[in-house]
Each structure stands twice: as structure tokens, then as C-alpha cells.
Symmetry: C2
Subunit: 214 residues, 2 copies
């Protein structure tokens, strides 16, 4: 298909598509004359993924390029490809261990992972930005005077594990390795707002069941 059709089908303007091409977020089409190129379904799929990362996920162009580099690197195993792509997504700042609330939070997170038997999370603790995000957020709760510990976090972690099992079942349904990794990135970006919205709707629902609407 030509650029105009790619724009029509993706809902992305031709100016934005040209920008993504220049920035290396989209591979060039097959050149068929000095001024026209031909694009296929893989371009369309990639363009939708780029738009999701940037417009819905709030990811910067530089971070999107980083995520896609890992998505496309088929020398890596699936766990590493997926992990590397997710790790390139934005995270909260690294926790500062000189802070006593951070030190307490890190202790509770370590104890939590041991309780759960999450051995990969423990091994990757110093590498994974998600581990750092978790420590930072727990430290903030402690600082506010809400003494969250491993026992309070554990049921949340177990529910999130049930969510992760569903995510991976969804991803596995796609045949090729690159479609699997693309589905995983889309799920990572879009399931978060879905879960956040469902979480808040559920809180309202539960609040009305307990206290009524007054």
C-alpha cells in the first residue's frame, strides 16, 4: 500500500509517519520510484504499536526506539526480549538507600519476594527497574505513616501473579515470536490503564455496597 493508505488505515497522519520513518521507529517501505514507496501489513502493525507506545503509553520517541530495538532482536530469548522491552518503558526514579524509609521498604520487599518464592525477581533485584519502583512506592507509604510490610503486600502480589498468568496466556495465543513480543508490549502498555480504571471502578462499587451512595 502507499503512504496515503497506510495513513488512512492506521489513523496516523502522513507527516507523523514521515517523522517516525526519519526517527527510525518504522522501517522504510519498498522503494518503487524516486518519490513513492510501498508498505505492507508489517508496517501497519508496527505503526499501530508505535502510536500505542507514544500516544497511550506516554512513552518518549527515544524510549519507544529502545523498546522496539529489543522487540526486534531475535537473538534474545523470549523472557529477555520481553524483559528488556518492558525495562525500557518509563519508571519512577531509583530509590535512595541512604533514606531510612527506603532501607525499611527494601527489607520488606526482600522478605516479600522470599515469602512468595519469586526467585527470578530476587536474582534480578539489582537490575530490574520494577524492583526499584516497588521499593520507592512502599517507602512513600511508610513515610506517610502507613506501615506496609511484606504480609500486607503478599495478597496484592498473589493477585498480580494471577493477572500475569492471564497476560501470558493471551500472549502465547499468537503464533510467531515477533507477534508474541508485540502482543506483550501492547498488553504492558494498555493493560495498565485498564487495570487502573477497573481498580477505581471496583473501589467505587465496593464503597457504595458498604456505605451507600450518600
Amino acid at each position: 500500500m502507499r503512504l496515503a493508505e497506510l495513513s488512512e488505515r492506521s489513523g496516523v497522519s502522513t507527516a507523523t509517519i514521515k517523522y517516525y520513518l526519519r526517527e527510525g521507529l518504522l522501517s522504510p517501505g519498498r522503494r518503487i520510484s524516486a518519490t513513492t514507496a510501498d508498505y505492507d501489513e508489517t508496517h501497519l502493525r508496527r505503526l499501530r504499536l508505535v502510536r500505542t507506545l507514544i500516544q497511550v503509553g506516554g512513552v518518549s520517541v527515544a524510549a519507544a526506539r529502545e523498546v522496539l530495538k529489543h522487540v526486534d532482536d531475535d537473538s534474545l530469548g523470549r523472557t529477555i526480549r520481553l524483559g528488556a522491552a518492558l525495562w525500557a518503558l518509563p519508571h519512577v526514579p531509583e530509590p535512595d538507600d541512604a533514606d531510612e524509609d527506603v532501607a525499611a521498604a527494601r527489607g520488606e520487599v526482600d522478605r516479600l519476594l522470599e515469602m512468595l518464592g519469586w526467585s527470578t525477581a530476587r536474582e534480578l533485584a539489582t537490575l530490574s527497574p520494577d524492583h526499584g519502583s516497588l521499593v520507592t512506592a512502599v517507602a512513600s507509604l511508610i513515610r506517610l505513616g502507613y506501615p506496609w510490610d511484606a504480609e500486607m503486600l503478599a495478597p496484592y502480589a498473589r493477585l498480580m501473579h494471577q493477572v500475569a498468568v492471564r497476560d501470558l496466556d493471551f500472549v502465547e495465543a499468537y503464533p510467531s515470536e515477533s507477534e508474541k513480543v508485540e502482543a506483550a508490549v501492547a498488553a504492558a502498555v494498555l493493560l495498565e490503564p485498564i487495570m487502573r480504571a477497573l481498580h477505581r471502578l471496583a473501589q467505587e462499587e465496593e464503597s457504595v455496597r458498604r456505605y451507600g451512595l450518600s
Copy 2:
């Protein structure tokens, strides 16, 4: 306590505390001379909440003022106070119903809420920004070619309801109404990064269990 001690105990600089006082995010201390004022534990607690909203939750000063206005309005019932505070937190843009993917997503969300028996969420659908966020994210999945429907969303919604039951149990443990609403806001802001981090750690863990670390 004096301003210096309030700063010391909250970890917020005196310049920032003065800024929050000018912006009306913190009520003035009890004046004890022309240049000094006295602050108490309620100031400290409020200051920590403001810092969490702004620094961890990424909420603007204007949005934080809006949230706190509802937190402090004891003419409202608990569900409304909590709802109004949560609704003032930032949300993704409202969905555009002229878009066919948005219309399809709205149909699936309606069907989901009916399946779940979430009658409050159905009644408040046109008011709640969370309902709009959910429709927008589901529409993005549909647009990417991932045909998420009510049946795929339902297990996620049921897991989030289990999370909401825990949240409200946590909030109920606080004695006064204003402490309950403060705890609910802190939980809303800080449980989201915690769940996001736990979700990603669980995905890595589950991925390694299924495919190994290669």
C-alpha cells in the same frame, strides 16, 4: 512545632512549605508572633499527603488542591468524598464516540459491567472519568487488532474487585472520617505504582517459569 521542625520531620524544604501555604494546600499555623507560627501533627500529616500527591503521584498543584478540597468537605458522604477526590486525579483524555473502535469498546464495557453486576459503575458511567479511561484503553487494544471483549475483561475486573476489597479493609482500619479519606487517597496514589511493579515482576517470574531465562 515551628516551621524548621515541620520541614525536618516532613523532609520538605521550608521554601516548599511556604509555597504550599501560599497556594492553599496547607492551612496556616497558629500565629504566635509577627514572624512565627506554630504547626501541629495535622499539618505534618497533610504535608506528607501533599508531597505524595505531587511528587509520587505526579499530580499538579491545581489538581492536588482540588483533591484536598473534597477530602476536607465533611458535608459529603464517604463514597462521594472518596469518589470526588479520586475523580480529581489525572486521567487519560475522554474517548471520542465518533470513532468506531471507541463505540465497539463502549459496547464491551457496558456488557462487562452488566455481567459483573456492577450497578454503581453502570449508573455513574457518564460521570466517571474512570469509565472513560477504560473505554479509551479497550478501544486502543481493538485498534491494534487485539479483539478484547467483555469475556476477556471479566477475570481482570474480578481480580481488581478482590484488590478493592483489601483497599477498603485497609482504609476502614482508621478511626476518623478524615483519616479514612486521607488513607484512601494515599492508597489510590501509591497502590497504583505498587501494583504496576508487582504486575511486571510477576510477568517476569511467570515468563521465566514457562520459558527459562535465555
